[in-house]
């Protein structure tokens, strides 16, 4: 049971009350290290991209793992990636989401961790494990941990889907539509989300200035005559909150003139929020990977969207000059079976892949591996090479390494512990 503390005077949202004080930066402090997690929701098929196997028949009679030949497997630097099966019509060859383009452009910044044992085939548990590092309930997402010290910022943690449990460390802002933020950044505009019509206001400028000045003066008068400490404190908080509206306009100033739809728009909002000092972490969400039927076509379609999103995100990051400050982690609930079902789909499989790129990540690397039948292989925790006497990489190892790498505070690390062998995954 949490009880309110006496003379509680924390600025910002109440959820920051549960933070140790040492984690609460001075009010107004802005983050300068950012994390984006991208959920490929439903369980992606690593053999359809960075852990390709080819069409050789399995010895157990279950057919091939993939519907493309092993000889068609491509490479970009040290990364290998799948060919599109012949039954799949790939996206246009000039699309940034086409695998040839995507890997050619980004392999030098991509880290691929294959053979990750998700230890579950449940969507709920898999998603929780992948993004919190613990399969049990009650552990916050890594995005929440990164944002927690900035809980006083109005949108420290942006989440547009996926596992975003915060353990009340920080309130996730789930509204990430630019139109919503525009409505709040320009509260006097009738058509805030239209740059062209934004000037059409409810009140003319002088009238609105008079209203705002009257509001400010009224709040000051109320404060001067208030004798109840609690109400006085509330008035002071209200005055403080009203003073921060310039930040939202800064967010809009950092957005492209025309914000993209769907997941690309999510990327633009997240990067603009980082550049404005309003956010520290963001969840992005690409659906469509739960391919129990028509696996090849639907995985290819969803991967195209995902790769276009990542490419667009990286472009935004570079435009904002944040490439040395934003780290991106991309993962899924689990993997898919190394064989097809009768509907041409693939069901749930515990072996999966995690990718990372961005600030601090050494790209053009592949860590971990799977067998010819797409079973996870153990690795030597020191050398990270496969080793039959080693350990399986699990999401907890990834989070242990990620926390150490990105600097989750020791207090939060103790509060939500992850005990796992330290692996030098992120260097």
């Amino acid at each position: 049971m949490k009880r309110r503390t006496f003379l509680n005077a924390l600025a910002g949202v109440c959820v920051s009350n549960v933070l140790p004080m040492s984690l609460t930066p001075a009010f107004g402090a802005t983050p300068d290290r950012f994390l984006i997690t991208i959920t490929a929701a439903g369980g992606w098929d690593p053999t359809a991209f960075v852990d390709p196997k080819g069409s050789a028949l399995r010895a157990d009679g279950r057919g091939p793992i993939n519907n493309y030949s092993a000889s068609d497997i491509r490479s970009a630097g040290n990364l290998i990636y799948a060919a599109y099966p012949s039954s799949v019509l790939p996206v246009a060859s000039d699309s940034p989401g086409h695998m040839d383009n995507f890997f050619a452009k980004h392999y030098q910044r991509l880290l691929v961790i294959n053979g990750v044992d998700a230890q579950t085939t449940s969507h709920v548990s898999g998603s929780r494990f992948m993004w919190s590092g613990r399969i049990e309930e009650g552990f916050p997402s890594v995005g929440a941990l990164v944002a927690a010290p900035y809980a006083g910022q109005p949108m420290a943690y942006i989440s547009t889907g996926g596992y975003d449990y915060t353990a009340s460390l920080v309130s996730p802002v789930k509204t990430a539509t630019p139109a919503t933020f525009a409505a709040l950044a320009y509260p006097n505009s009738q058509y805030a989300d239209s740059v062209k019509n934004r000037k059409l206001s409810y009140f003319n400028d002088s009238a609105y200035s008079a209203v705002q000045a009257a509001r400010d003066a009224r709040l000051a008068r109320l404060q001067s005559s208030e004798s109840l400490p609690k109400r006085l404190e509330q008035m002071q908080q209200l005055e403080l909150a009203r003073s921060s509206d310039e930040q939202l306009q800064s967010l809009l100033a950092n957005l492209p003139a025309t914000v993209s739809a769907s997941v690309k728009g999510q990327a633009e909002v997240a990067v603009a929020a980082f550049a404005s000092g309003l956010a520290a972490s963001a969840n992005m969400y690409v659906d469509g990977f739960d391919t129990h039927a028509g696996n090849d076509t639907r995985q290819a379609q969803s991967l195209t969207i995902l790769f276009e999103c990542i490419d667009h995100l990286w472009t935004q990051i570079e435009k904002a000059g944040l490439q040395n400050k934003v780290t991106i982690l991309i993962g899924s609930d689990f993997g898919r079976t190394p064989f097809y079902n009768t509907a041409g789909g693939k069901d749930h499989w515990n072996v999966t892949t995690v990718m990372a790129m961005g600030a601090g990540i050494t790209g053009n690397r592949v860590i971990g591996a799977t067998s010819a039948n797409f079973d996870a292989l153990k690795i030597n925790p020191s050398t990270l090479e496969t080793h039959s006497e080693g350990i399986f990489i699990t999401p907890k190892h990834i989070h242990r390494a990620l926390r150490d790498f990105i600097g989750v505070s020791p207090e939060l690390d103790r509060q939500f512990p992850i005990v796992a062998e330290p692996l030098a995954l992120f260097i």
Partner: protein, 820 residues
């Protein structure tokens, strides 16, 4: 700071540091032992020759010389026994027993003239039980009994009201993990010590603390209560009742409000903020509740099948309604109990659960007679055959919201039972849990053998084992055997009786319901619901004087409310009513700013939740915040158009809404985004409401009963009308009653005049046109969308409409509007 005190008696640190310790509701019943609470020495009764029985206060003037001055003397309560003697001839004031902190002292003072006295003797008095308390109890509860590191106070605690109960409780339960250490005589002596040292003082600090509160008038209290409970303004009849009937009139008016359907919406919110079972509402988790009903084959009775081609709008509506009917089952049980004035304990002991026509079909129950099986609001009690219902505890929603695993063995559920229904934070009982290096790998069953583990697990595991008949996902599935390496089903040190061993959860529910801490848990839930914040926690060993006095005063108030609630069959309406009537909830200011620290948290003002703001706007304007009124006929039926209820496109989540899972705590202060939501709300609602009100007939105007769109400030009549309307708006929107010549009204008048004058200049110079802003115009009927017979309201040739919009926007973003 007080060196002389240490020099005189080292053990008297408590004398000046532990001020405020002697106040308790129990003390108010007549305990007579004099007490010292810095800086006041209080003698409830002293008989002085020639003066009779006096109740005397003295104030410490000099901490170095320990000199005090008489500050007040009034006739004493004759039922109180004298606690001191005064010899007029020698000038010696003798106090055989003076309480200071947890200690007793024999004190003698000598008159130095001019009603001043100096301490001449100060001798500690040994108290039976003190040594045992210090050795076995103080580590957790603090040497002063105020809570210590675990913040579980013994001041006015639930068992401290009578010595026998306290003795028995100590004998059976304390110290945690090893109650055999203190039984019989030891328990009796410790109980006596706790009773006398922590619960036997005077109540004067509470009285003075409460008297410092300026209580809001009855009508204002009623408005606030009405908005809180039923999201509407009080009627004139209710106002008259409150004004003429004093507190009893107010009680009657508030009680009547709690019979309205709107009250039960609010009650849902209050309890869901703690239970969080609304996580399964369709809007939070699509099919969230139905997905939990794998054991019920007709759960999706409404679904004709994906390939049937029959999944139409009715299917969608039934799907959502059924899901939400199942999800709301535990909250509907609470509603049923409160509606029917049943004791709150029935939320645990009910041998039934609640269904409406939709959820009955999902559960496959056909023997419940509904007046209208398609009325989603008609919930009735029902039973599942072969299921030993235990109120909320056996609810499918509760059991899944707090699930278990094969290794957790229901301990998470047990923790929640302690938290929600016993007001005990079991994880806080003994500080930090062992870290990785301290895990006991030697004991076969550490939770039963290692004393460090047993402290908590002896409480937690019997409750956890009592859930054994329900599996990890809430299905009733009695196990063939239960784990033997954990404490077996029970509660405290009691095991489930053998004849009830097949229904341990029902037995547990009855035990929890009978536990006096259950009432504390209800107080916590209701108080948080009505104020947005939890009751003050026990102050603990490091508390300041102000913190201690604040806790004492608030707990005294809550105890009084609890006593009334218990006297009225544990009716939650009583609890709500009494808290609303309390000076803490009605606090409108402080008479004495010297109490500012003590009353730092006093008062019920809170920022409105998005749901409350949504309802308030509707109550005041007659429409919800859903965009322009010309499109309202369509928008009013769309869930996605409600600006304060929709989380993704609009502002519900930004404005502090919860989804009962990822976001489960409501903010108590606004952030920058919330301030912007307020500003947009004020601007938009002013734009919609002002033209709408001017379109209304004279008798149905809410906002502008005194002016027309042609009323300007050109003449005295117009000026007077505007002023009268401003007065009305301040009252109607903010609840402020301002005199026509008040400065506050003059400021608002000035705003109106400024905007009007400037606007008319802009019209004259053609900088601006007569057209109203596009989203403010009215050409259609708000409810039907049909074109208005009249010309509607699209222009503002005098700039009056826009000037009133400015005034209304000014008022809607005011502190007194966005807080309630």
């Amino acid at each position: 700071m007080k060196p002389r005190v240490y020099q005189l008696a080292a053990c008297l640190l408590a004398l000046f540091c532990l001020a405020g310790m002697f106040s308790s509701a129990q003390a108010a019943t007549g305990a007579a032992v004099p007490s010292f609470v810095y800086p006041i020495l209080h003698i409830p009764r002293i008989d002085v020759e020639g003066y009779g029985a006096l109740d005397v206060n003295m104030v410490l003037e000099n901490q170095t010389t320990l000199s005090l001055a008489l500050s007040s003397a009034q006739p004493a309560n004759s039922a109180v026994a004298p606690g001191a003697t005064y010899d007029l001839h020698t000038g010696i004031l003798d106090i055989p027993q003076l309480r200071m902190g947890a200690n007793l002292y024999a004190v003698q003072l000598k008159s130095t003239g001019n009603n001043k006295f100096q301490v001449t003797q100060l001798t500690p008095i040994a108290v039976t039980g003190q040594a045992s308390y210090t050795q076995m109890c103080a580590g957790c509860h603090g040497i002063d009994g105020l809570g210590g590191p675990v913040k579980v106070t013994l001041k006015n605690c639930v068992w401290c009201k009578d010595l026998t109960s306290l003795t028995n409780y100590i004998s059976i339960n304390m110290p945690l993990g090893n109650p055999s250490l203190c039984v019989n005589m030891c328990a009796s002596e410790v109980a006596t010590y706790i009773s006398t040292a922590f619960n036997g003082g005077s109540n004067f600090p509470i009285a003075s603390t409460l008297e410092a509160i300026e209580v809001m008038p009855a009508a204002e209290t009623l408005r606030k209560a009405s908005m809180q409970l039923v999201s509407r303004l009080p009627t004139q009849a209710e106002i008259d009742l409150a004004n003429s009937g004093g507190d009893e009139g107010l009680r009657s008016a508030v009680a009547a409000m709690m019979e309205e359907p709107a009250f039960y919406e609010r009650l849902d919110e209050i309890f869901n903020d703690m239970l969080l079972t609304d996580h399964y509402l369709y809007s939070n988790t699509p099919d969230g509740a139905i997905n939990l009903m794998g054991a019920f084959p007709s759960a999706r009775w409404y679904d004709p099948g994906a390939t049937s081609g029959l999944r139409d709008a009715t299917y969608t509506a039934n799907r959502i309604t059924t899901n939400d009917s199942v999800a709301r089952e535990p909250l509907e049980l609470i509603n049923h109990i409160v509606k029917n004035n049943l004791p709150a304990t029935e939320m645990l002991t009910a041998d039934y659960f609640m269904l409406n026509g939709y959820s009955a079909k999902s559960y496959g129950i056909t023997d419940v007679a509904f007046n209208n099986e398609w009325d989603a609001k008609e919930f009735r009690p029902a039973r599942l055959a072969g299921i030993p219902h235990a109120g909320i505890l056996s609810s499918l929603m509760f059991l899944n919201r707090y699930p278990s695993t094969v290794t957790n063995r229901n301990r998470a559920r047990a923790r929640v039972v302690y938290d929600l229904f016993l007001d005990v934070d079991i994880l806080g009982l003994d500080g930090a849990r062992p870290n990785g290096s301290a895990v006991d790998i030697i004991s076969k069953a550490p939770t039963m053998e290692n004393p460090d583990c047993v402290k908590c697990h002896s409480l937690l595991d019997p409750v956890a084992s009592s859930f054994q008949e329900w599996n990890v996902r809430g299905k009733y599935a009695p196990p063939t055997k239960w784990y033997q390496d954990m404490f077996q089903a029970g509660f405290g040190n009691q095991s489930v009786p053998v004849n009830l061993s097949k229904t341990p959860l029902q037995w547990l529910a009855s035990q929890v319901a009978a536990d006096p801490r259950f009432d504390n848990a209800m107080i916590r839930i209701i108080y948080k619901g009505l104020t947005g914040e939890e009751p003050l926690e026990s102050p603990g060993a490091s508390a300041t004087t102000a913190e201690t006095e604040a806790y004492m005063a608030e707990s005294s108030m809550l105890d009084a409310a609890k006593a009334q609630y218990r006297a009225e069959n544990r009716n939650l309406k009583t609890l709500i009513r009494e808290i609303i009537l309390s000076p803490h909830w009605r606090a409108d200011g402080l008479k004495d700013t010297g109490f500012a620290l003590v009353h730092a948290d006093t008062g019920a003002a809170r920022i409105l939740t998005p749901e409350m703001m949504h309802r308030k706007l509707n109550a005041l304007f007659g429409f919800e915040w859903r965009g322009p009124l010309d499109a309202y006929s369509t928008n009013k039926n769309l869930a996605i158009s409600a600006r304060l209820l929709e989380p993704k496109l609009y502002f519900e989540q930004i404005y502090g809404g919860i989804d009962s899972f990822n976001v489960s705590e409501r903010p108590t202060d606004p952030n920058g985004l919330m301030a912007n939501v307020q500003e947009r709300m004020a601007n938009e609602m002013a734009c919609y409401a002002v033209p709408n009100d001017f379109l209304a007939g004279a008798t149905s105007r809410r906002l502008f009963p005194y002016v027309e769109t042609s009323t300007t400030l050109l003449d005295a009549q117009g000026q007077a009308a505007v002023m009268a309307n401003l007065q009305h708006l301040h009252h109607y929107l903010l609840g402020e009653d301002l005199a026509l010549d008040s400065a506050e009204l003059a400021y608002t008048y000035q705003l109106f005049a400024t905007v009007l004058q400037d606007g008319q200049s802009r019209l004259a110079s053609k900088v601006e046109t007569a057209a109203l802003p596009a989203r403010c115009v009215r050409t259609k009927d708000m409810l039907t969308g049909v074109a208005l017979n009249t010309a509607g309201l699209t222009t503002d040739p005098n700039y009056v409409v826009r000037s009133w919009m400015a005034v209304v926007a000014y008022l809607l973003a005011d502190y007194r509007f966005v807080y309630e």
